[in-house]
Amino acid sequence: RSTSGAEPESARARGAGAERGERREGERAAAGIRCVAYNNQSNRLAVSRTDGTVEVYNLSANYFQEKFPGHESRLQEASVLARRQRLLAGLNGEIMRMFTGINIKYDCEMSWEDPLWSMVGCEDGSVKLFQITPDKIHFERNFDRQKSRILSLSWHPSGTHIAAGSIDYISVFDVKSGSAIHKMIVDRQHMGVSKRKCIVWGVAFLSDGTVISVDSAGKVQFWDSATGTLVKSHLIANADVQSIAVAEQEDSFVVGTAEGTVFHFQLVPVTSNSSEKQWVRTKPFQHHTHDVRTVAHSPTALISGGTDTHLVIRPLMEKVEVKNYDAALRKITFPHRRLISCSKKRQLLLFQFAHHLELWRLGSTVATGKNGDTLPLSKNADHLLHLKTKGPENIICSCISPCGSWIAYSTVSRFFLYRLNYEHDNISLKRVSKMPPFLRCALQILFSEDSTKLFVASNQGALHIVQLSGGSFKHLHAFQPQSGTVEAMCLLAVSSDGNWLAASGTSAGVHVYNVKQLKLHCTVPAYNFPVTAMAIAPNTNNLVIAHSDQQVFEYSIPDKQYTDWSRTVQKQGFHHLWLQRDTPITHISFHPKRPMHILLHDAYMFCIIDKSLPLPNDKTLLYNPFPPTNESDVVRRRTAHAFKISKIYKPLLFMDLLDERTLVAVERPLDDIIAQLPPPIKKKKFGT
């Protein structure tokens, strides 16, 4: 205890308590990936999960997960199946939702050539053509109805033909006439045994007229759409081949199987100098334990996702020119956003799920112990509240006020504010009705430190300030986005004195507003990479900003410039291991009594930056676990550097200081997620 720092006694909640809570949380994390779509122009990736959430990743920004689509995403194509509804993310950032009604729609494809057309294959075997205009989608016409349901669709790159995969056959439609010009029967044979049905899970139409199909018999087949004949067949799996994606150059494609394997096919010359080329199965990858439901092919990487919730981005080494961040295999499992908020005063944690919120009260102990001890609980954590949303929409963001008496959350179309009353052990919830119409869809919600103000970043780009008093609220002001920008803010930070509000979008810089004077104070110089987390330090009002390329800046709001420490850090540069970390920093907090400390964490570590200590250079050990106490002070001081990193809790979803001596951490063990997944296809292994 003679060390330089204090020994804050930390409490931590693992999923916070009872069995039920843990299970619920698992539900969120165990949502498998249903569909992945890659867009080349914006280099973005849309991912939909089985619980209906949609995520957009910016591949140019170290695969940072941007918000749920709904604002600036200029995706041309993202077709996503989500709980019996179809979200078409595209065109001017509108989210278009088509309620399916009676039909379950299986696949939807937009023409590459002309984004104004969309195709929907239906349960009843019909293929419907929709026209998409900037403000709505309207039904154009039906194609010739087929006998069995349509499971997969693919446009010919010129937009003249469509291939539709069905059960036991593939149809090729002429778009103009709407009639099927070919029907190619798929062999049901599976390893010599005739299966009951052969489901064509995916088709891809190449510009030379070749149709590639993948089916439940484990085959990848090449068809000539002009003659309707089978050209070549590859048997690659004992189980279903479920997905296919073709590179834009059409020189390689990728398929995913139910065995968790991803195969890469390439068009390679038959001999080294010949112009004749053939499709060759080149590389198999096994990064998944469960079904690979969907694959995508970016120019430099193969992207796959499936039931095991991982999004795997496997770079094609021959396409990667320089060894940089893109050259490494990425496995994204956890959201890059903070889904947990915390009420420090009442020691409450609010967990955000796709369709509900959970409120937990932390437990307590009277015992003390030494480092590493687990203390006996005098009071266990309580599950106080389970708040379900109405309707099918997902929760975008949520927040609990520091005093614990307000909860606000927002879905795609509605904003909800609740007032909580605590009477001894009872808790009552009252919804604040009559939300003003401008508070419809919020991307981020934040309460001020004294819980009197509510800051809402709307998807239209405006920032609303709402005064809360008693059970009512009053709209104070709205900061309108600067003219010319359509980008909405998705990260907010407020200073503890309530004077300053910092807001950041995904690409433009960080704006700092003066809340007292209700005007824009300054704009932090723009940076290339999106902000992943930010916070304003108490007393000094220094804004600490973490970016997706793992850079951390400190900007003094009163001085309107970067602090000296930040300049030193930039001059010396971060440790290379720090820059190579895989996950973005999702939360930053400060110790009220230790102004030199910054607490930040990502999914696999938490770090305390002590600004008073020297920075590590590339030769020093970055991840030195907290030095053992038996070392002498001299040694400890010599090896000490500014970054104190601990990896004891991982995967770490949330960590914050509750008070000076208490730290709360929320961990999500991967084993629990795996345990909740459906069993994978059983493979006979030798000797088992």
Binding site: G5, E7, A13, R14, L230, T271, S272, T365, T368, K644
Partner: protein, 708 residues
């Protein structure tokens, strides 16, 4: 790599194919289109890539097509012969065959031949050949008789006639009109009947391949420019591939040359099996690919433009054939960087074609392929012969002593690039001489050669055979140590000799003893007495009282320990047996041979193995002392193998009883050790669980964490 692709059926309509199948499939002027003539009245033009017919023509009822329709590539017309003498010529626009050009000839036509770039040739049944133009100018001209029977024809004309079991080949040059007659000699097997022919032409020779009824393929080379056209010449055929198809097929077999190196054969590989289309590489004599045709064929096969046509069941089936020059890089998809033209890779491996060039100086390239194995004798002493040549000549004539000196000299030289082949030749030469002269046995030479590490069993199978005959255990031990590929039968034969050879004859041999540790070493002796109690993984066999033989054994425990602690074989034999233990084997192939070993030898070997096991278990590491001792696994595997192979014999032998009981107890004690371990495992698991619980902090916990 040659490959047959996915087959497809050309017509869903059943062709009126007779029992002998189709009349023919011929190329048309477009690459993708083929004329199919059935044995009835119809000619159909198919487009293969579309898998559908483009046109169909029939002769009148009562008429019958006797010769497959062909295309005249010069005029793009089709020609067919019906009723043997009536020639019809038509083109795509014609609908009715009755209304097209007709010419009645004076003689019966056997076949019309049409090759790209020339006018079609009409071959008459009597063997005469006429150009179509000349024939049409005077259809009734007299046709001379050349032959009288059946022919098979290809590009430049080769007619083969059978008459009373003799075969003749006629070659007529297309432009010179010189007809040359050759008699085909069938060689030793005069009874075989040629079933099918194919011919291909390269610059100098017509290669006539024939599939005989004995299932072999023979090749006959016919020179294109005959030396003496007037004389009747004979041709000898040489065996190309053996036993490609079974001799007695129901529907006949067919053969066609695909390219220089590949042939396709239609027929059943075994008498009982289904018919198969197989592609053989004649250069490497390997089967490249094959496809089963379960519905049977008519024994006809045509090959045009990368497609193989055959009658499969009732329908005409097309199998595309491709032989691509495949590169490993292409298959692996790694083609980003082409070969840098500046760098030259040094060949690291022996080129199969070159050894005779640099090694022995055979210049005859024509024979190169076959000479590799046969040469070695024809060496003449020249003033400046390379050492290798000299060595070979020495082997054939000189005395053992001299040979030894020469071999030593050669081995002392630097290793030449053809070192491998010379060593191989030397050994073969030596062995051949050994066989010829029973008194000749250059043992030291052979030992030296084996120690070069370049020999293997497959290179000189005779070596071990001779050593076995001579009972040269030292050489056998050396072979067992050096050769990686000894067949199990030979291993077993070695074992037999090792076990049966008398101790006195062993004394004279100079066996390598490195794998044997002196087991009689007294250092261990005293230890052993106390250790027998806790032997065998901590389980003493005396503890098991269930066996009724135990009492009997317990009477003389002293004897038992003595028996188990003294080696049952002399060290030299032990060394030999260790060589067997070290050799590689496959159980399935070894077991039948083990059964041939006499029972008392089996018991001896088992005793020795048991002894080794006991020695093993003395050590904590379960290994034997020594430089290269047998491992525990090898010992256990051999015990199991011997018992598996000979259990019924051994169990009846009174002298093996004690051994078996010992082994039984050994197994029993092992089982009890494992059951004890299993019991412990449960408690360990509990401990682990406890440990985990300590680490597992549950769903919610409060911990003390000292940060800094």
């Amino acid at each position: 790599m040659a490959a047959l692709e996915e087959e497809f059926t050309l017509s869903s309509v059943v062709l009126s194919a007779g029992p002998e199948g189709l009349l023919g499939v011929e190329q048309s002027d477009k690459t993708d289109q083929f004329l199919v003539t059935d044995s009835g009245r119809t000619v159909i033009l198919y487009k293969v890539s579309d898998q559908k017919p483009l046109g169909s023509w029939s002769v009148k009822q009562g008429q019958i097509i006797t010769c497959p329709a062909v295309c005249n590539f010069q005029t793009r017309e089709y020609i067919v012969v019906h009723d043997n003498k009536v020639l019809r010529i038509w083109n795509n626009e014609d609908v009715n065959l009755d209304k097209v050009f007709k010419a009645t000839l004076s003689a019966e036509v056997y076949r019309i031949l049409s090759v790209q770039g020339t006018e079609p040739l009409v071959l008459f049944k009597e063997g005469a050949v006429r150009g179509l133009e000349a024939l049409l100018a005077d259809p009734q001209q007299k046709i001379e008789t050349v032959i009288s029977d059946e022919e098979v024809i290809n590009e430049i004309m080769v007619c083969v006639k059978t008459s009373h079991g003799n075969y003749f080949a006629y070659v007529q040059m297309f432009n010179s009109r010189i007809l040359t007659k050759y008699t085909l000699l069938l060689g030793q097997d005069e009874n075989s009947v040629i079933e099918s022919f194919t011919a291909s032409v390269d610059r100098k020779f017509i290669s006539l391949m024939s599939l005989s009824s004995d299932g072999c393929i023979y090749e006959t080379l016919i020179p294109i420019r005959p030396t003496d056209p007037e004389k009747n010449q004979t041709l000898v055929r040489s065996l190309l591939l053996k036993a490609v198809v079974s001799g007695n097929t129901r529907n006949g077999v067919a053969l066609t040359a695909l390219d220089q190196d590949h042939i396709a054969v239609l027929g059943s590989p075994q008498a009982a099996s289904k018919e198969c289309l197989s592609v053989w590489n004649i250069k490497f004599q390997t089967l490249q690919t094959s496809k089963e045709l379960p519905q049977g064929t008519s024994g006809q096969l045509w090959y045009y433009g990368e497609n193989l046509f055959m009658l499969h069941g009732k329908s005409l089936t097309v199998i595309p054939y491709k032989c691509e020059v495949s590169s490993l890089a292409g298959a692996l998809g790694k083609l980003k960087h082409g070969q840098d033209p500046g760098t030259h890779v040094m060949p690291r491996f022996v080129n199969w074609e070159t050894p005779q060039g640099c090694g022995l100086g055979f210049q005859n390239s024509e024979q190169s392929r076959r000479i590799l194995r046969r040469r070695k004798i024809e060496v003449s002493l020249q003033p400046e012969v390379p050492p290798s040549k000299q060595l070979l000549s020495t082997i054939m004539e000189d005395s053992e002593k001299h040979i030894e000196v020469e071999v030593r000299k050669f081995l002392a030289l630097k290793q030449t690039p053809d070192f491998h082949t010379v060593i191989g030749d030397t050994v073969t030469g030596l062995l051949e001489r050994c066989k010829a002269e029973p008194s000749f046995y250059p043992r030291n030479c052979l030992v030296q050669l084996i120690q070069t590490h370049v020999l293997s069993y497959s290179l000189c199978p005779d070596l071990m055979e001779i050593a076995l005959i001579k009972k040269d255990v030292q050489l056998l031990q050396l072979c067992l140590q050096q050769f990686p590929d000894i067949p199990e039968s030979v291993t077993c034969a070695c074992l037999k000799i090792f076990l049966s050879i008398g101790d006195d004859s062993l004394q004279e041999t100079d066996v390598s003893m490195e794998s044997v540790f002196d087991y009689s070493n007294s250092v261990h002796d005293e230890k052993m007495e106390e250790q027998t109690e806790i032997l065998q993984n901590g389980f003493s066999p005396e503890e098991d009282k269930c066996s009724n033989c135990d009492q009997e054994l317990n009477k003389k425990p002293q004897d038992e320990t003595k028996e188990s602690t003294s080696c049952p074989v002399v060290p030299k034999r032990a060394a030999l047996l260790n060589a067997i233990l070290h050799s590689a084997y496959s159980e399935t192939f070894l077991l039948p041979h083990l059964k041939d070993i006499p029972a008392q030898h089996i018991t001896l070997f088992l005793k020795y193995l048991y002894f080794l096991y006991l020695k093993c278990s003395e050590n904590a590491t379960m290994t034997l002392p020594g430089i290269h001792p047998p491992t525990l696994n090898q010992i256990m595997d051999w015990i199991c193998l011997l018992l598996d192979a000979n259990f019924t014999v051994v169990v009846m032998m009174p002298e093996a009883k004690r051994l078996l009981i010992n082994l039984y107890k050994l197994v029993k004690s092992q089982i009890s050790v494992y059951s004890e371990l299993n019991k412990i495992e449960v408690s360990f698991r509990e401990l682990q669980k406890l440990n985990q619980e300590k680490n597992n902090r549950g769903l919610y916990s409060i911990e003390v964490l000292e940060l800094f």
